[in-house]
């Protein structure tokens, strides 16, 4: 791996973020709009139903962290789709750039973008709704880490599928996290799901992350079991994602799809 090639991939996406309004919208606009809606929602329910501050925190924390999760995996896939849409893939992979260097650069730049989006959303929540995520953040960091790792695994899988099946499957970029959301228990505990869905939910690192986050907000301390489960599941998902990606990339190269993608 050559650092300058990873930096080149990052520079390409930083330029894109600077020049392309769509990317700025993805990074900042949507997370902020999401928090504004959730802010009014919690204000309304606080007035009508006397929501406890704990519940408000669950809702805000969930919205901010889910927004970060969604943005990270989506931007990974969009970053790659951008090369396809602009017919730049042959230019990129006709250089010494390896697919590992490319993915590392993409991950690094999208991690930065996800952090910027999360910071913007947290700032709006703080300024407009007096919800401050930052004091509780240290307790959430381990769960945030698990969310990021899982977003990475999902992003790698979707990017691999696009390599192999081209733009026919690009819709997964925007739709896959919506499929995961009900089972990730972002705004409600796992035990509120029907019994038969609970084992499926607990097979997702996201459900463990949000359970752990709620425990931290409720003052229950650091939920070690949820963290360890999330981490172990993530290790398995990352290994599977990398293996699938390799297989998809090799298959695309064998079928000549890298030069024919549209």
């Amino acid at each position: 791996m050559q650092p300058h090639r990873i930096r080149a991939v990052m520079l390409r996406h930083i330029y894109e973020a600077w020049r392309n309004w769509d990317r700025i919208t993805d990074t900042i606009y949507w997370p902020v709009m999401n928090i504004i809606v959730w802010g009014f929602f919690t204000l309304y329910f606080s007035r009508v139903n006397q929501l406890s501050p704990g519940v408000v925190s669950f809702l805000f924390g969930g919205a901010i962290l889910w927004g970060m999760f969604t943005a990270f995996q989506r931007d990974m896939a969009i970053g790659f789709l951008g090369e396809l849409w602009s017919r730049n893939l042959v230019n990129l992979f006709g250089t010494p750039l390896s697919v590992t260097e490319y993915m590392t650069g993409l991950i690094a730049v999208n991690f930065l973008k996800a952090m910027i989006g999360m910071a913007a959303a947290a700032l709006v929540a703080w300024v407009c709704y007096a919800y401050n995520i930052f004091p509780g953040l240290p307790a959430m960091v381990p769960f945030l880490l698990n969310l990021i790792i899982f977003a990475l695994a999902v992003g790698v899988v979707i990017t691999g599928l696009i390599f192999r099946y081209t733009t026919r499957v690009q819709g997964l970029t925007w739709s896959f996290t919506a499929f995961l959301m009900p089972l990730s228990c972002v705004f409600y505990p796992v035990n509120s799901l029907p019994k038969y869905l609970q084992p499926i939910a607990l097979s997702l690192p996201t459900a463990h992350a949000f359970e752990g986050m709620r425990a931290a907000i409720a003052g229950g301390g650091f939920a070690v079991a949820h963290f360890v489960w999330g981490l172990a599941l993530n290790a398995a998902y990352i290994l599977l994602a990398v293996a699938l990606f390799r297989r998809m990339f090799d298959s695309a190269r064998s079928l000549g799809l890298l030069v024919k993608m549209e």
Binding site: Q2, H4, R5, R7, A8, L11, R12, Y15, E16, R19, N20, G82, E83, S86, R87, N88, L89, V90, N91, L92, F93, G94, T95, P96, L97, S98, D250, R253, S254, L255, G256, L258, V259
Partner: protein, 249 residues
């Protein structure tokens, strides 16, 4: 030999795009890879870039097998094609800067300025790629191809979309590069007059197979099967297009 292609075959499911093709390129040579649409030229170029995995055969470039030394080989090689593009919202300078960093070019701004000057497109430096004409886009692609001072250039129709003046400038630059730096060039074109002027040797393909190889005059003789005083590649091209390549093969 700088490039050795040995019994290269590429099959896509039931379709054989490249069928047992062998050729080599000497250092400092300009080799023309010619043939009608679907002859396998682009597949060969993409295979030389490692973008397509061969079904059979071996490729050695700079004495190293491509299958195991991809990064080392591509560091010293570059290419251009009118069928690929750059991120449209990035400016010409930004795009070239990304690729210069990719190749580890030491003084990127100076190198980019030098190349923009060489192709007379300094004025386009700050312009987004989306606002370029197709000819200007080809010139940017050529600038990209020269960023790493490549020892081997793969040029897929480098003068497509260019007006005659710009095309002449590009040919001058290529010949100058070959003469001054000994750069080796693999060249594809549908402009047969241009191929006759530029290429010392020709590999003529039809439906994935080599049907003739040699100097332009040798290829003319081999395919037309008659004595000519001067190369007639355009006539060769038309004859092959009419299905007369089988006899030559």
């Amino acid at each position: 030999m700088l490039v050795e292609v040995d019994h290269l075959t590429k099959t896509f499911r039931n379709f054989t795009a490249v069928n047992d093709v062998s050729f080599s390129i000497r250092e400092g040579e300009i080799l023309g890879l010619l043939g009608p649409n679907g002859a396998g030229k682009s597949t060969i170029i993409h295979t030389l870039l490692g973008l397509i995995a061969p079904t059979a055969g071996e490729i050695r470039i700079f004495g190293m097998p491509l299958s195991t030394h991809r990064a080392e080989i591509l560091q010293q090689l570059n290419f251009t094609s009118p069928y690929v593009s750059f991120p449209p919202r990035l400016t010409v300078y930004e795009n070239l800067n990304v690729f210069a960093l990719m190749y580890g070019v030491p003084d990127r701004p100076a190198k980019i300025a030098e190349l923009l000057r060489k192709f007379s497109i300094e004025r386009l430096s700050g312009k987004p790629v989306t606002r370029l004409s197709s000819g200007e886009g080809v010139c940017v692609g050529l600038c990209k191809a020269f960023l790493n001072d490549p020892k081997l250039l793969l040029l897929d129709e480098p003068t497509a979309h260019l007006d005659p003046r710009a095309a002449r400038r590009v040919k001058e630059v290529l010949l100058d590069l070959r003469d001054r730096c000994g750069t080796t060039i693999l060249y594809t074109s549908h402009n047969m007059a241009e191929a006759e002027r530029m290429c010392e040797r020709i590999v003529f393909l039809d439906r994935g197979r080599v049907i003739a190889a040699g100097s332009p005059i040798e290829v003319t003789h081999a395919i037309l099967r008659e004595e000519r005083a001067t190369p007639a590649l355009e006539e060769v091209f038309i004859r092959v297009g009419e299905g007369d390549g089988d006899a030559a093969a």
